[in-house]
Amino acid sequence: MMTAVIEASGLGKQYRRTWALRDCTLAIPEGRVVGLVGPNGAGKTTLLQLATGLLTPTRGTISVLGEPPAVSPAQLARVGFVAQDTPVYARMRVADHLRLGAWLNRGWDDELAQRRIGQLGLDPKQRAGSLSGGQRAQLALTLALAKRPELLLLDEPVASLDPLARREFLRSLMEAVAEHGTSVVLSSHLVADLERVCDYLVVLVASRVRIAGEVTTLLASHHRLSGPRRDPGTLPAGQDVIEESHTDKQTVLLVRTDQPVHDPAWAVTPVSLEDLVIAYMSPASDIPARRPQLGVVS
């Protein structure tokens, strides 16, 4: 049986008049590297801050590793967090940050922290304020990893990094995750950032989970059909149209189906993860009947 690392039900967060997250219900399975993808303003940051206890819900409930977030030091110890823009203490040295981690976390793995700092080539004496964006992100990741959490949450960790630093960051993240079997949730507004590392995807649009599932399952169950112009309403049952475009003569559909497509009128091609996510993000696909069930977790 699969357990959820994050389970939210009717979760909402209101700032004065505006809702940053509204009626969000989701379950994120454990042992995965989960990409939380959605356009800006979908509520990704709010969701992650609710999951760390940095924010308190206005409505609904959220539990993380079976407990309310930040309910006790022991719960805090089980969750690692790398916040957006990876804040560090600008005036403190790199080594001071490691001492901070050791002082504030009982499960601190100093050997891991020192090794990572060495591998990254960070100077322990350097002040954190003078680190590059990539180095700062790596320092923040080191702090989160050396805490040896069961669940690691990263909020847009690579958004401000250049492509090289981005690749380097994700590579070292994956190495660490592989070594310790940590569950990971990382958010991004660009699926391209996460494609390489995620094995599970949650697409969040306007607080709602639009689709969630194993990346391989998602790719296997979505196809692009192109053929002569045709009304999508005539498709057989079990083929849900996610996205459609028509010219005078031609129709191109993005279809979700668990069955093979046999109709010889269609040319069937596979869909990239990016196309798939973008299709789900677009407003046209927001038709409840066609929205796939939130899968897998039971």
Partner: protein, 320 residues
């Protein structure tokens, strides 16, 4: 958490230690001349008062105000609060350490300055008294209490303002207002004053007059209670009324003239026949330490209250 707070506070602690060391040197070098009532010595005496009023304010705006607001402004609270330490502990330790350090710094400075000024204070060069508004707050215990209060106030404002610069400005404004309000409106009510009623001593009269055209008598008399903080000093009739009735003939020259008391013995004798009383409401100088302790206790209680508020706000309200 204590070690982290110390790490973050270290630079400020070094600055404070250097400032204290400088003060020690200045006061020690000038100590042999401190009783002199002239020039540099007097300026140093005045500077001591100013410094003891400024120190808690500076501590409040540079140690207190940025304590939490800087973490909120730069986002580092997201790093701190996702370590395995509760927010309650985070606030309590940060504020506790800074508060104790500020009390130690202000206490040492006050101790040194109070000692340096002790002989001069006795000569009363400012025409005040030990309980006077100006001297009282810059001696002995009060700076310790107001420094602790300043740190807690700064931290609280920083927590609410969430930005360093506004927090500093608001903290300074409120702290100055409190420093003005306490001697004016709080201190007089800390302990109920003594009220004495004595027969008016004719030799204490320093002013006699009459109003025009009612021609009612007015008498002023000096108070001779050493070290006392006099709230009010009135001359009344035996019945206790402050309107003394018509002025005796002997005291009037021409239509309305104020005569210095004692200038005419006839007037004095006439006043003597009225059997007036002198009513003085005052705080005896012997209550100096009672006032020191109670005012310090009030500041410390406020500091604890604000600390409690900071803890509650951080763990319950800030994430809303």
């Amino acid at each position: 958490m204590i070690r982290l707070s110390w790490l973050q506070f270290r630079a400020q602690a070094v600055t404070a230690a250097a400032a204290l060391a400088a003060a020690v040197v200045v006061l020690a070098v000038s100590a042999p001349h401190r009783a002199l009532d002239a020039g540099a010595s007097h300026r140093l005496y005045m500077a001591g008062i100013v410094v003891l009023y400024l120190t808690p304010a500076i501590i409040g705006i540079f140690w207190g105000a940025p304590l939490i607001s800087r973490e909120l402004e730069t986002g580092t609270f997201r790093l701190a609060w996702t370590q395995s330490v509760s927010r309650t502990r985070w606030v309590a330790v940060k504020l506790g350490l800074t508060g104790l350090a500020s009390m130690a710094a202000a206490g040492l400075l006050s101790l040194m300055v109070t000692w340096w000024c002790s002989s001069t204070d006795q000569r009363n060069p400012l025409g005040g008294y030990r309980l006077s508004a100006l001297l009282f707050g810059a001696r002995d215990l009060i700076p310790i209490g107001s420094a602790a209060f300043a740190v807690a106030l700064g931290a609280t404002i920083g927590l609410l303002a969430r930005r360093v610069v506004p927090a500093i400005a608001i903290t300074l404004a409120i702290f100055v207002a409190v420093q003005v309000a306490v001697p004016l409106w709080v201190r007089p009510h800390l302990i109920s004053p003594v009220r004495t009623v004595v027969p008016l001593n004719l030799s204490a009269i320093n002013a006699v007059g009459s109003s025009f055209p009612e021609n009612s008598l007015g008498v002023g008399a000096t108070v001779n209670i050493p070290g006392a903080w006099v709230y009010s000093n009135q001359v009344t009739t035996p019945g206790g009324s402050t309107s003394l009735g018509p002025a005796p003939r002997a005291c009037i020259s021409g239509a309305t003239k104020v005569l210095p008391a004692g200038q005419t013995s006839a007037c004095n004798a006439a006043i003597g026949r009225l059997h007036l009383r002198q009513v003085v409401i005052y705080q005896p100088g012997s209550r100096y330490w009672a006032f020191q302790w109670s005012e310090t206790a009030i500041f410390l209680a406020l500091a604890l209250l604000l600390t409690g508020f900071c803890i509650w706000w951080t763990s319950r309200r800030l994430s809303r």
